[in-house]
Amino acid sequence: MSENPPPSLYARLLDASRRRTLMPIALLALGLGLAQQAWAFCGFYVAQASSSLFNESSQVVLARDGEQTTLTMANDYKGNLSEFSIVIPVPVPVKKTDVRVVDKGAIDRVDAYSAPRMAEYHDPDPCPEPAPRYPMSAGYASRPSAMMMDRSVMAEEKDEATGVRILDSYTVGEYDILILSAEDSGGLVVWLNREGYKMPERATPILQSYIAQKMTFFVAKVNLKEKRDSGSSFLRPLQVSYKSPKFMLPIRLGMLNAEETQDLFVYTLTKRGRVETTNYRTVKIPTDAEIPPWVSKEFSAFYTDMFSRLVERDGMSGVYTEYGWPLTIACDPCSADPITVTELQSLGVPWVTEQYGNYQQGGYLTRLHVRYDLDHFPEDLVFQETADQQTFQGRYVIRHPFNGDTSCSDGRTYEKQLAARQEKEAQTLGALTGWDMGAIRRRTPARANPVKPTPPPPPATPEFWRWE
């Protein structure tokens, strides 16, 4: 198993569309058209000069056991490293021992493992010789085991002029980190700007509300020397652990000046069950829909258009569950390689150990996807863990028609049923994505033995009418 597994098909397919969707995030220009760029969730990139920042996606893993929380943040920052910095409000001051950099592969795996997937089937021969080779199981379409297509410390000091206090300062991996407390957001903004973090004035009221809640600020920059020494070509995910009753994700800072919507993926790893938001509606995405086979080549467009339509339908007020399943190694087959115990532990899940080929004590993985802007999401996301242990996955079914000889009697029946099925698949696709029905129908390939439309049979005439 490679250390950095390739992203799933879904991830790769979605990548292009995310790029299209999320590129504006990088161009949010937090500061009144200045060069600052927003990170899509808790904090933001703060650039010092105009640069070609490129933030494709925001992914967060939240592992939580009681009040112990581990937040892992992945970013696809591709700009000038000397200009990278983030500011994240955290409920408690974070010590050096609670900050780590982790392997991006673990998040990629969670992404691939939980991504909406396509299940692919092939219709059996309706005219078998001599006996059906593949008897169709009645419940086959609902089986989840279908063949998946997816694959040091500075002394605490206070700046008298601004009221900013440096609670801690250390270097972890390629990041230089400061833990700040502040008495006043204006002072904090002045201090950050003075220290080279360009912070827009518009951030002031939001920062003030976090200060009033006695939150501290986790501020990170890239240490260029450490970065060079690490030999890594990208910024590794930054991980913060803390103990707090607050089960939330601050997203308000990242929405400052956002002209475009932003997408965020939150993966939660919990002991008891599914996680949902309590202050926004959590909705499951449509699943187990049968769609035309040709969509397999356009899964990216299909899924992103379907998701956009959902968001539109709900007036951009929902948080969408794309996956929720008890953690298990024993998925057969899996949409991606199962998440290893080492990977889970690296994401802040110490309770999982392996025994007899499975996790000894499992947990629950929830994948939430939210598209948001400040108008529709005025509050930070607040979560709750529920007792829900039910399984859910976004799954789209493709059934390839049988393409051999269907000239027998059963074959003709099959062709009729197939025509009806294809129409239903087309309608499902149109309803999910909003694509033009005419265009969808035109893409249905012609059959070798097309069924001639037969006129409906005349109504059966009861015998007692005949004697007349």
Binding site: K246, R272, N279, R281, T282, A387
Partner: protein, 275 residues
């Protein structure tokens, strides 16, 4: 009994409409079998309890409890539905002080199921779209006098809004945040159908206002200081235990569904017969 004189008829209509809308349009995670099982369970348990305690069978309160459970309670397996129904209805008969039950049946069942990790409540399930229509229906009930114990609803909402907006003002949050929190179907359901339960609230107006203030205050503390979810439910369940004490302090007789006005303004003359 006159069909319009009993506020429960209006409540049942309102809750049923909401449940229908929630399951059809808001993807409430409650299946038709769960709804049927819940409504059947509460009636069967209500019937058995009435027989056991030698009281006339009364279906309306149980129906309200059942509909509320359908709207709020989510479980992993249908087998847990009768458990919740048993807690809700059973508590009315078993946990009584001076002949009055002290817990709102639905509220007690919900906190018990959450506390025992047998179920959960999704406060976010309502979205904002339904909120306005629901609010209109609730207020319509208030105006037309079809809602029970309006004073406690008004008092609770007033205290709760002060707490929400006051906190946001205090910590420099934009007012869009408390406004968003107010636009919650869960809050309306709680205010108009749960805390207003006349059989589980103090018998005098002064007592009820005090009760509402304490419930709002404790819920505020649970939500904003302890950062726990379902604060309103936990608060109401806990503070309900103070009802006998408040009744002792402020006096008043028990509520009667068939004479809401008499009881609402002063001590009732006769103890309640129904549940």
């Amino acid at each position: 009994m006159n069909l319009l004189s009993d506020p429960r008829h209006y409540q049942i209509t309102c809750l049923s409409t909401l449940l229908l809308y929630g399951t059809i349009s808001l993807d409430f995670e409650v299946s038709p079998p769960q709804i049927l099982l819940t409504l059947l369970s509460v009636q069967v348990i209500q019937y058995l309890c009435c027989r056991l305690w030698r009281q006339p069978f009364e279906w309306r309160s149980a129906m309200i409890s059942g509909l509320s459970l359908c709207l709020l309670l989510r479980v992993n397996t249908l087998a847990l539905v009768p458990v919740a129904a048993l807690i809700a209805i059973g508590s009315k008969f078993v946990i009584r002080v001076n002949g009055q039950h002290i817990f709102n049946p639905t509220c007690l069942a919900l906190v018990a199921m959450i506390g025992l990790d047998l179920g959960w409540v999704s406060p976010g399930q309502w979205g904002n779209g339904v909120w306005l229509a629901f609010a209109v229906a609730c207020l319509g009930g208030m105006v037309t006098g079809k809602a029970a114990r309006r004073d406690i609803t008004v008092a609770f909402l007033a205290f709760w809004l002060i707490g929400l907006f006051g906190r946001s003002w205090w910590i420099y949050e934009p007012m869009t945040i408390p406004l968003h929190r107010v636009q919650s179907g869960a809050l309306l359901l709680f205010s108009f159908f749960m805390i207003s339960d006349p059989r589980a609230t103090p018998n005098t107006r002064a007592g009820r206002v005090l009760f509402a203030a304490i419930v709002a205050g404790v819920a505020w503390y649970i939500q904003f200081k302890l950062f726990r979810t379902n604060a309103l439910l936990w608060s109401l369940a806990g503070i309900s235990m103070l009802t006998p004490l408040i009744n002792r302090l402020f006096g008043g007789g028990a509520y009667r569904w068939d004479r809401p006005v008499v009881s609402d303004t002063g001590p009732a003359l006769t103890p309640a017969l129904s549940n």
